[in-house]
Amino acid sequence: MFAPLRPVAAHTDRRPNEDEVTTLDSATVPDQAVRSKAAPRPAWLSGIGAFQSAAVLYMAVAFLLPVLLMTIRAVSDPQNFVDAFSSGIFRRSIWTTVRMSLTVTVVCLVVSYPYAYVLARARRTIVIILATCLLVSFWTSTLVRTYSWQLLLNNTGLINTAMVALGIVDEPIRMMGTDFAVYLGMAHVLAPYTVLTIYAQMRAIPRELEEAAQIMGSRPATVFWRVIVPLSRPGALAGAVLVFVMALGFYITPQILGSAQNVYIGTAIVQQVQAFLSTDVGAAQAVVLLLIVLITLAVGGKYLGIGRILGLDKAGQR
């Protein structure tokens, strides 16, 4: 709906159900908005400029303002932070969230590499099929996809029913309410991001380099490890930062698929606000989450070149 928005920003519009806790948006989008405003374009009221300033305005009202209000509310009384950290559930949820987000990131990378490689190198028909699968999944609501996993993973779900029927197991394996289910569901939602960042980088690798490696005695696996992986690493790392940050802000998927013991940070905050009715402490906890996200992005931006993938800096090094 807002033409000048770049993909990362655009996705927020499609995903209102992850709302407050998807802190990625509040972290990166203002950044983009500020930059586009800062771009030396004197005719900022005409043409694209007008669209951009509309986007800036929208972002300011829809994202910056709420985040600002929340932050003010949290810091107005330092006791809020003391209370926030006094909650054992919250302290544990930070660790759980970081640990699970890291795992999901690794899963995404492992799954995405071969997918992106095939996407970058296969012949046209296969590329069209793979790209369609990727995009349809990408465009389907997270809520829908999460409930689909529930249908598959239930004790009476498709997988368990099939395994029992085939005699692989005697009774259903509990998959719902486990970390495994959360990894599966989150990686499913997030893998398209790593696939696309890795794919973009792989497309830029000349096929000649693979041929050179081949004729110098590399078997296909060696070509992949020695040529494809190192040359696509910037894309993979940028995708990893992106996915990690988005995973930190997840709420629905761990809530529906996850266990009651390993509470995700988003769940902890919602609990604080809705069950304990302490909005100020919840705000402080949300600020903590926001800080984790900002630090990750800052470190990622500095060392991994995430900006290059998001198109935030000037032309890449190569």
């Binding site: 000649e208 041929e211 004729i215």
Partner: protein
């Protein structure tokens, strides 16, 4: 895999330990089709060990396709490729033990010069302590000692080309393929590298198959030239043979400047053919031409002698033409002429020779019979 092909023991040559001799390459009726299109149309070729062979042709002639089939990147639709007498059918690229220089060098941008050149040695599991000396030698042979730490992006085009060459020979391949290796370089650099590559390949004794569309490069570097057109082999011979005795119009046209006359054969003698052409009579060497056959006769500009109309010429050939332009070109004058049927002709007269022709003048062209070659045109 690698032990078989990549690390053959080097023959102890005083010149260089990188020398490993050359492979023979044989092609038998090799065909490559892409759907309806035929890229390579039944090429047979025998390349002896140590030869420097250039596949020459315009774009679309099938030369690159042929090279890529020898490398193993694509499989022939029909026919067979043998290296050292062994069929390459089903032999994967990485097992063929071939060195290759790519058109855009294909250096690994994430590795420095040393690591780039080390790459084939590492794949062949050459012991670490042996690598150093071989890399030093390979870089030395392309005069790049001291560049080990540079990244490819910090090198000029010519330097990148030499790294690519060092990387292609460091594993002592017996067959070296080059895909337009000098295409991206400027003229001066190209000429010096042509000689360098030629000398290096002779020193190593390696068989080289080089692809180019540049006929000068082909003439300078090659022992043999395989001229390709439309996926077919037009002529296979030494540069001299191709230049002096082109077997048909395509060959005559592609290699160097030439005068091509068309006409009907008359008075066929032993090995000699007289051809009646517009504006006169051409006599040249030609076998297998019968009386009355449609013929074409090829004469190189340097063999043409000119005389003002009416003056006596010593050749038996005589074709009248009109001078259209005289261009001074250093060692010689290039005289452009228009034949009786309006075709463009050319003569090259040494600067030292007496010369008093000017545009507009009518002259007679002639040449020694041995300098002209007559070929039957198949289409007629």
């Amino acid at each position: 895999m690698s032990t078989q092909s990549l690390t053959r023991p080097a023959e102890d040559s005083p010149a260089t330990s990188l020398a490993a001799g050359g492979s023979s390459v044989e092609l038998f009726d090799v065909v490559k089709r892409y759907g309806e299109a035929t890229a390579v149309d039944g090429i047979s070729l025998t390349i002896e060990p140590g030869w420097f062979v250039t596949l020459l042709g315009a774009s679309g002639s099938g030369k690159t396709t042929l090279l890529r089939m020898i490398a193993g990147f694509i499989d022939p639709t029909e026919g067979q490729i043998r290296i050292d007498g062994v069929s390459m059918h089903g032999v994967a690229v990485h097992r063929r033990g071939i060195g290759m220089v790519f058109q855009n060098y294909a250096l690994f941008p994430h590795l420095n010069v040393y690591r780039n050149v080390e790459y084939p040695l590492a794949r062949a599991k050459v012991p670490a302590k042996e690598r150093r000396s071989r890399i030093d030698e390979a870089l030395g042979s392309v005069r790049l000692t001291g560049f080990e730490k540079r990244m490819p992006s910090q090198l000029s085009g010519g330097q990148q080309q030499r790294v690519a060459l060092a990387r292609a020979i460091v594993a002592r391949p017996r067959l070296l393929l080059m895909d337009e290796p000098l295409g991206a370089l400027d003229r001066n650099l190209r000429e010096s590298l042509q000689i360098e590559i030629r000398q290096l390949s002779q020193r190593l004794g390696v068989t080289v198959i080089n692809v180019t569309h540049d006929q000068e490069e082909a003439l300078t570097m090659s022992d043999k030239i395989a001229l390709l057109s439309d996926g077919k082999l037009v002529q296979f011979g030494t540069p001299e043979e191709l230049y002096l005795r082109p077997s048909n119009e395509i060959a005559a046209d592609f290699i160097g400047e030439s005068n091509i006359f068309r006409g009907q054969a008359r008075a066929v003698g032993t090995g000699e053919v007289a051809v009646e052409v517009p504006g006169g009579r051409v006599v040249g060497l030609g076998a297998g031409v019968d009386d009355g056959d449609a013929c074409l006769a090829v004469v190189r500009p340097g063999d043409v002698q000119l005389a003002g109309a009416g003056s006596q010429l010593d050749g038996v050939s005589s074709v009248t033409a009109t001078v259209t332009d005289v261009i001074f070109a250093g060692e010689s004058r290039r005289v452009l002429l228009r034949g009786a049927d309006g075709q463009q002709l050319i003569a090259r007269v040494p600067v030292g020779a007496p010369f008093d022709l000017s545009p507009g003048e009518e002259v007679a062209m002639t040449w020694p019979t041995a300098a002209c070659r007559c070929v039957r045109t198949s289409a007629a």
